[in-house]
Symmetry: C2
Subunit: 376 residues, 2 copies
Amino acid sequence: MNPQMRFTLEAQDPHCAARAGRISLPHGEIETPVFMAVGTQGSVKALSQEDLVALDAPIILGNAYHLYLRPGTETLEAAGGLHQFMAWDRPILTDSGGFQVFSLDGLTKVTPDGVQFQSHIDGSRHFFSPEKAIDVQHSIGSDIMMCFDECTSYPATREHAEKSMRMTHAWAARCKAQWESLGAEHQALFGIVQGSTYEDLRQESARTLADLDFPGYAIGGVSVGESKDEMRRAVEWAAPLLPEHKPRYLMGVGPPEDFLDAIERGIDMFDCVMPTRNARNGSLFTTRGKVNIKNARYARDFEPLEPAWPNPVGGHYTKAYLHHLYRCGEILSLRLNTLHNVFFMLQLAVHSREAIRNGAFPDFKRAFLEAYTSGE
Amino acid sequence: MNPQMRFTLEAQDPHCAARAGRISLPHGEIETPVFMAVGTQGSVKALSQEDLVALDAPIILGNAYHLYLRPGTETLEAAGGLHQFMAWDRPILTDSGGFQVFSLDGLTKVTPDGVQFQSHIDGSRHFFSPEKAIDVQHSIGSDIMMCFDECTSYPATREHAEKSMRMTHAWAARCKAQWESLGAEHQALFGIVQGSTYEDLRQESARTLADLDFPGYAIGGVSVGESKDEMRRAVEWAAPLLPEHKPRYLMGVGPPEDFLDAIERGIDMFDCVMPTRNARNGSLFTTRGKVNIKNARYARDFEPLEPAWPNPVGGHYTKAYLHHLYRCGEILSLRLNTLHNVFFMLQLAVHSREAIRNGAFPDFKRAFLEAYTSGE
């Protein structure tokens, strides 16, 4: 197998593990560090594909579990893949569905072979094996597929964490074999490090997956309820053991402060629903801190929300208008707020990259957090 | 008073009363016939102001009742008017709020002086007189204000219809006096014809309002439950008695067939929530008839919805994708469907105007309806 994905390390900050790189994929190039907006069902909630291009989002996420249920792999194949189906010609990364399948409380039955589960939509019964998860992602045609893993819940006993990690490792090998048997060179496959909060397990997991030689690696089992310190340690234990010249993706992270913490520790890729979900609840990121737009103090604030990083699509609307839309439950509120938060995360990645290239990431991080924690 | 609004009659179809014109207003020119999208609370539901410009919507509606309650006239005045508040620099027409106030079942008390009502939001008590309705619209700063009228409910006894009409006439005179006392030359004021389903009342109302010499006239009390025949007759009775060189606006109308019927009878301006409301329910207008996008037949229909009038914002998305978004309850579904239906109505107006200028409106109408009734 000779995957088409290429990762180039372009800069390394001399003061920390932060790095800047470039991932070349069949549907385009991505500069890292990168924030990937989440489009679970083939749509980043409240945004259009044109919005995402206008914000210069270089890559989005899809989810194999959701897309398998709706619209289904037959429809996706008939359309020519998810890119065609949703009219998005930039890269897509798909999560394998493991996280979702294991989250279906009480409806799942896990065996070493795979997971039997019931649809959250209609209760219908389905089965995902590692091979099936790769087949589904192959039908989707994502540029980057993820291995089918067990996202170890938190907290986990050492015994459970170890057992769960070993299954993830066995499944990673099966995912890789299935990917190779499909000959899907246009799709890269990333392995996922587990090991919960245990140093030796995280290290063993990173080494085991590195030995399997994936095009890229993710650190999973974070952002599941653990403390910020525990998350930082999980990254610190695993990242240095992952191959330097392969991209590293921290799954499900996170708010700006966690994003910067992880970049500092050598992470290249991020996804998180928080920017989009918070937006819909009126909670907005700004360089001067979080803004809760429903707050009455904004009712007659006729200034734009973020003069420092003006959003090219809706950045000219005033806080008073955003407040009014939120208060009235207008649909436009969902879109303008989401545009804002997604652009904010994209800009945070762009500025982080610039700082790394200037060898000044720690200074950038310090200055950003100082202003960010001074707000509302 | 020397209102800044100018209406120019540009063409008259020789086969019917259909006419093409141009309304010049402080915030821009409008070619008629025109469809005005409804932005009740300072937002056309699911669309941004940039969307409306991309669709080339020349004018939108606001509602004095809703805007008075939220954000309130003090905020609107502090912002410099609704145009500034919502960042929309094209014309705005405001409904006076009469229709809404009279719809607040059981919460209203009507006297010749005005209407006492309770907010549908928090139950707070308020009072709208004709003067107050003009003051509110003056704070809003709309290009066209509407008189405060009683929209006679349907069915109405002759006695009730007559009494209600006389109050509307008295209020029209008071609205005009208040408008003049404000010296609001940058805002035009339209009178509203009532008279329910009674020929002599409709005629008396048209004559009375014409004598009051408004810059423009609306026909109200339609689209309230009456038959299509009754609506057509209301227009036929009133329109010929309204001054030829003033614009005529049919309030709250309507679906494509009613829109064309009214143009044929000499109407220039239309507003209707149906295109936006139906869109949110998955009911879409096309030149080949209505499409119910939730229908399973569209699950693998990879053609665009409307090849004849392709929507410049979302017209490239396939029916299969629109179906998927609707089925999954994605927010983008609301926007793409609304973009489609609003653009459809705008195009219907554009093509109607072109047909009138070519002296071929009845042919255009016949051909359109033949295709439109052939669909799903």
